[in-house]
Structures are given as structure tokens and as C-alpha cells.
């Protein structure tokens, strides 16, 4: 440990991770990747150079102290590694699985300049999974404060904000429209990528912090944001309702029965368990030959769900090339392994009728890449006379989502021209005491960015309420115990001080 590692002394190969065989896994919904064993994690942790300049930390949207946790892991201080991660990221087992590490921490890792970067995501997942098995939770001593905080939406943004506000001693209630919490983690990302047990376990930690959940509550309709502040007695409110209003194709045949959004497909399958129909009541559209339009994470998930539901042929229709596909690299790779047929540089122009109200095929044109557009990506342009039909019976549309209109329809909050909630740099909205973050502010982004936004808003909310962070002063460097209680087991039950005595 004392010996300084160099790029030549570390294990040269990135430690591979065991995965279910592609031929086998397309028949089940069990997780694709098995995750590292302890030996594998220890081996991979050796590859970190402990760079003093820590580019990976800067690459992480919530600045997890990556070298610090890897060092602890390598020293077999697993609980220590968990505490380091959860100081900034409350969902390590989730993020280790779904973050686009290749464009974040791993994308800037020094080792990556010469070799394959350190597998930060897999190490994070290893620690997160170990915590779930061991039942660890990072629950600091909480100094009660007299404030009530309302959180709208139980997705990653709302969760992260709820955790920070609960740690600041506030009474936090999370309102969720669905009957289960988790947001996209629950209804969007399928089990084979993120098992429900992992979400349950990491969400469970929020309940341990004293956060209350009110599911089946559609804010805006049951009560408005204004009412939360004026009538329901919330001192401050955070809105993290996500961007789940799917765009449809807008081409002829769009409303045929075999055309549906990826959100609908995934919600039926994941949240409503249509994959277990008829054991659960929600049905799934029949699909033998499927075209999924788009190449983001949502599209990859939809394709792989269709394969697992028994489709014979699944096409990915995307108007740009593979290099521009917005999905995580690993997801594209997995989809390829599982037999998805990619039609890069192909754009649908019409969905064809089968004569009975269903889909008989999809008409596409070939595209070529022209000059870069506003997003910096080369603009696809149609090739004249390249129309061709693909024979399919289901079209799944995964070309992006827009802002959900409900909060906008029912409150006076200022929205931008696309309908997203307008905020300042610190995520304050136009209404005093009301903050917003995650996909409902930025448009569809990532889990970790949404969590980062939730935490950023929480900082501002504490400031608004006049709360000083109480976490830190109690963290005495080097101390093993606090008030005679082992710091490693800081599972204090929250004490609520009666209002009269505050």
C-alpha cells in the first residue's frame, strides 16, 4: 500500500465481470451482470492510481470521493468505503448499475489514458450490494428541526432531496402519483438491469431516516403546490416530477393499435408486471416482430424487454449512427449480444396498416450524416429514393419525452417555453419556498444528475429555512464513538422534539 503504484505496476487488464450467457438471459428477467466477487473487486481496486488531482471526482456529478472509497475497499474496510460513497450518493447499488460511467468518472480516469479505465461503477455496485446484504445504512445523528418539507415525485431527484432534508431534521413527506416509489427506476428500467430488490433496499434507507411516503397522490389535482404551502403547512416544497410525457412519431399510422410508447411498454412490464400476465391483470401487446425507434437507454430497455417477452425479431431503427446513440455503451453492447438487429441511419416515415387496425410494417428511409447541428452531432439527412419497408407487427416509440403538464396546468409556477419548470441557478422556482430539480427542470437526463439536483436544491432549501447543516459538526475526525455509540453503527432513531419545546 505504501509503495507508489504506477501505470506499469497495476494489473493491466480491467477485471471482467461475470454475466449471464446472452442465449440464456433473453429468456428471463434475471439480472444480466452478476457483479464482482470480493476477489475480483479487490483485484480491480488495485488498478486505481490514487491520483492526487482526482479527475474522476470532478467527473462525477455528485463528486463521490472515488479514490478514497477505492482505497478503503482495497484495505478491506468495506463499511468505510460505503460511508465514503453514501456521504454524497445515497443509492450506490443503483448508480453502480445505471450511471453512464464511460462519460463520467471512468471517462476521465487517468488509467484510461493508456489502458481500460478503473471499473469505478462495478466497484461502487460491489460496495452497494454488500451494504444491502449486510443491512448497512448511513444514518447520522439527526438534530430535529421544526420544519415540514413536502417532496413531489419519488424519483431519484425527490429521493435525494428528501434524504438531505430528513438529515437536517425536517419532517419530510414524499408524494408519489404511482402506487410505488422509485420513479423511472421502478417503472422504466427493467429488472434485468436493476432488480426491484435493489431499489427497495436503497429506498428503505430513506424510511429509516424518517421520511414518510404518500403514494397514490397526484399533486396538482388532489392538492396544488400553492395549497401545500398555504393550507397543508409545508414550509418548503421540492418538485421532482420527471419528464415522462412521451413524444409520438408524428408520421402517418402513428395511432394504429400496434404503436406504443416505450414508457407504456415498460410501465406495463415493470410496474404492472404484465410480464407475469395472467398472474397479474395488466396485459401486454402481442409482439413477434418489433421495431423500436430510437437508441437511448429507454430504447435499449424496450428492445431487450421485447426479446424476453418472446419476440422473434427486434429491430432498432435510429436515424443517426452508432457513435451518436445516446444509450450507455454497455447497454448497446448487451443489446447486440442478445440479437437486436440495428438499423443505423434509418428513419421511419410511415407505419403501415395490416388492414385490421394493427401494424403491418414500417416504412423507412436511409439517412446520411451532414453538417453538425446545434447539439454538435452531425445532422442526419434522408437519401432520396431509399424508401424500404420492414415487416413488423409492433412499433415501440422511444424518441424522447417532454415535460409532464400537470403541475404547469395547476399552479402559477413559471415554465420555460418547452413547459419545463423555470428555476434559477440554485433551483429556486418563481414561487417563494418552492424548488425544483431533475428531469422536470433539465429535460430527460440521468439518474445521478437528478440526484445531484435534488441535493443542490436541498442545500438551498436549508438555507431558505435557516438550517445549518448538522451532519458535519458531529463528524469528529478520527473519533470511533460519539456519546459512547459506535460511529460505524450510527443507526440513531430520530427523536422528534415536541413543538412546544422548540
Amino acid at each position: 500500500m505504501a509503495r507508489k503504484k504506477t501505470i506499469r505496476t497495476i494489473p493491466q487488464e480491467r477485471t471482467p465481470v461475470a454475466e449471464q450467457d446472452p442465449g440464456e438471459r433473453v429468456k428471463n428477467f434475471a439480472e444480466v451482470s452478476h457483479g464482482y466477487s470480493t476477489e475480483e473487486a479487490l483485484l480491480e481496486s488495485e488498478r486505481c492510481l490514487m491520483c492526487p488531482e482526482q479527475p474522476c471526482v470532478a467527473g462525477c456529478p455528485v463528486s463521490v470521493n472515488i479514490p478514497d472509497f477505492i482505497q478503503r475497499l482495497s484495505d478491506k474496510d468495506y463499511r468505510g468505503a460505503y460511508d465514503v460513497i453514501t456521504a454524497t450518493n445515497l443509492l450506490p447499488a443503483v448508480c453502480g448499475r445505471v450511471c453512464p460511467q464511460e462519460t463520467q468518472c471512468e471517462g476521465v480516469c487517468t488509467v484510461g489514458d493508456t489502458l481500460e479505465p478503473v471499473a469505478v461503477g462495478r466497484l461502487e455496485r460491489f460496495i452497494g450490494d454488500m451494504a444491502i446484504t449486510a443491512g448497512w445504512a448511513s444514518i447520522p445523528y439527526i438534530e430535529p428541526s421544526p420544519f415540514r418539507v413536502g417532496i413531489v415525485g419519488a424519483g431519484p431527484a425527490g429521493m435525494a432531496c428528501a434524504a438531505d432534508m430528513a438529515k437536517a431534521g425536517c419532517e419530510v413527506t414524499v408524494f408519489e402519483a404511482f402506487h410505488e416509489s422509485g420513479g423511472v427506476l421502478r417503472y422504466g428500467i427493467p429488472d434485468f438491469r436493476l432488480p426491484n430488490e435493489v431499489i427497495d433496499a436503497e429506498m428503505g434507507n430513506l424510511e429509516k431516516l424518517g421520511v414518510n411516503f404518500e403514494c397514490n397522490t397526484l399533486v396538482g389535482r388532489l392538492f396544488t403546490i400553492e395549497q401545500m404551502i398555504d393550507e397543508l403547512g409545508f414550509d418548503t416544497v421540492f418538485i421532482g416530477t420527471g419528464a415522462g410525457y412521451p413524444s409520438m412519431l408524428g408520421v402517418p399510422g402513428d395511432s394504429l393499435n400496434g404503436v406504443l410508447s416505450a414508457n407504456e411498454l415498460l410501465t406495463r412490464c415493470n410496474l404492472m408486471h404484465a410480464k407475469e400476465f395472467p398472474d397479474y391483470d395488466t396485459p401486454m401487446p402481442p409482439a413477434k416482430r418489433v421495431a423500436v425507434v430510437g437508441a437511448g437507454n429507454t430504447a435499449m430497455d424496450a428492445m431487450r424487454v421485447c426479446l424476453r417477452l418472446g419476440a422473434d425479431e427486434v429491430y432498432c431503427v435510429y436515424r443517426r449512427s452508432r457513435a451518436e446513440a445516446p444509450a450507455r455503451a454497455e447497454e448497446v453492447h448487451h443489446a447486440e449480444q442478445e440479437g437486436v438487429r440495428f438499423k443505423w441511419l434509418t428513419n421511419p416515415v410511415e407505419v403501415l396498416d395490416d388492414g385490421e387496425g394493427g401494424v403491418g410494417g414500417i416504412r423507412c428511409v436511409q439517412m446520411e450524416l451532414g453538417e453538425p447541428d446545434d447539439s454538435g452531432r452531425r445532422r442526419p439527412i434522408p437519401v432520396a429514393g431509399s424508401e424500404h419497408d420492414i415487416d413488423i407487427d409492433l412499433v415501440v416509440v422511444a424518441i424522447g419525452t417532454n415535460a409532464n403538464p400537470i403541475i404547469g396546468q395547476t399552479s402559477r409556477l413559471a415554465l420555460n417555453k418547452w413547459g419545463y419548470i423555470e428555476t434559477d441557478e440554485q433551483l429556486a422556482t418563481s414561487m417563494p419556498g418552492v424548488f425544483a430539480g431533475g428531469d422536470i427542470v433539465t429535460g430527460a437526463a440521468t439518474v445521478i444528475e437528478a440526484m445531484g439536483a435534488g441535493r443542490k436544491a436541498a442545500r438551498r432549501m436549508k438555507h431558505y429555512l435557516g438550517i445549518h447543516d448538522v451532519d458535519t459538526p458531529y463528524f469528529v475526525e478520527g473519533a470511533e464513538t460519539l456519546f459512547g455509540i459506535d460511529l460505524r453503527e450510527r443507526n440513531f432513531v430520530r427523536v422528534r422534539v415536541p413543538e412546544s419545546s422548540v
Binding site: 404511482f178 389535482r221 392538492f223 410525457y245 406504443l260 410508447s261 406495463r268 404492472m272 402481442p286 403538464p405
Partner: protein, 286 residues
Amino acid sequence: MAREDFSDATYLLEVHHPMMAKAARPGQFVIVMSHEHGERIPLTIADYDREDGTITLVIQAVGKSTREMQQSCTVGTSLYGMVGPMGMPSPLGQASKVLCVGGGLGVAPIYPQARGFKENGAYVIAVIGFRTNSLVFWQEKFESCCDEVIVCTDDGSAGIEGRVTEGMKLAISRHADIDECVAIGPPVMMRGAAEVTRPYGIKTMVSLNPVMIDGTGMCGGCRVKVGDQVKFACVDGPDFDGHQVDFDDLMARLGRFSVEEKAAMKRWSESCRMAQQVPETGKPTE
């Protein structure tokens, strides 16, 4: 939960949810899950009582979920989940003479609208249609809040003979100054109603019932064609201009899962028979 059965297939549930009763407006709906493995099924709020804190639903047992609820939702039980109110409240505008048309099950959800218009000071004519006399319900409720009530039955066993469109024609012939019409019922009926008013240029709102899942605008499953636009009925509706709605599209989309629904129904009835659970119906409970 309280309950009343109108017929073998139609029953009323009164669910205690004070906060929702406070928020509900005419035209809105709820989504109910009766058990953890259940479907999310949308049901219109047929009435609400702010004082008692209750929401009234009138349900027709058409398939597996609704029949299952017919058996399981008895007095004192609770639902696994109920979320709402959802959708935009109906715009109860400045109309001074209104025709409120309800066919079959649409009779229940038209009631809060009729009452709402009345409270806004309009002259309200209700046209309510049923297949036959024994299926008639809520006539007195309408009579207590409407200026005129026209009952239609397909076989003429109560009120006038014929479909609601006949009742509408009668009302229009008596009142040339009707300035708004609201029609709720099966899609065919709403289309018929919209055709009756079209020549007179009477603004006609209909309440659409496409297949829904989330009811929050997240899946697009409930999309309908209105004029040349695609709308999500759960957040942009469920009320739309009946003269603009593409009813063929709506009806085709309602059949999306007919194969699976039939299969589920069949499996369910078989399992019921096996368990010797003959559905109890027609027994009013309070």
C-alpha cells in the same frame, strides 16, 4: 366503503377519501387498483360529498377487473389503491341552457355536471337513456337538480322509446336556445349525440374513455385524435369537443387488448366456478 347494486351488472361504490372529495370537480376521474396484482382501471367520479368525505363510483361489470371488484368490494373493505382526481375538470362555462346527455353508464358521470351547471345558474335539461326500465337509476337525483328530465329506454318500458338521440331531438325541438350539450356514454352513443347537435351548431362536449394505464400523461396509451391533433385524454381531457373527436380511432383503440381481456375473463370465470363462488349480485347494502 358503502355499496348499492343497480342491477346484475351495475353497482355503486362510495369510497371514503375526504381529501379527494374536497378536490374533486365534475368531469374528473380516479384510477383504482383493487388488489396488488390488479390493473389500474379508470372510473369517472359520479358524485362526491365534501361533508361526508366520500367519492361515488358507478361501475359496470364488463370484464375481469370490474367483475372481480363486484365480488370483492363490499361494505367495510378498502381498495388497494385509488388515485385522483385525474383529468381536467369539465369547463362549466357561462352556458345558460344546457343539455346533459347520459347513456347507460354515462348517466352517473353526467350527474355532477348537471348539478354543476345548475349551481352556475343554467337551465338544465337531462336526457338519460337505459336499455330497459329495470336498469333505470338516479332518476330522482336528476329530477332534484334539473329543470327537465327526459328518460329514454330502448324498448319503451320507461319514458320515451328510443335511444338518447331521440330524447335530444325532442329537447332541441322544444328549446331552440340550447347553447351547450354534454354527452357521456359509450363511444357510439357519444358519436350519435354529436351528430344530433352538429347541424344546430350546438357546442358539444364528450368524455372519452380510452384505455389508460397511469393516468398521469406518462405513457401515451390514452392518446386520441381531436381535430388534427393528438391529445392524451388523461391530462388534456377526458372532455373534448365532440364535433372534432375521431370516434373511429377511439373505438379501434379500445379493442387493443380484446384477445387478452377475453382470455383473462375466461380464466377468471373458470377459477370462480372451481371455487364455487357464485357472484352475489342485486343485494343492496348500505
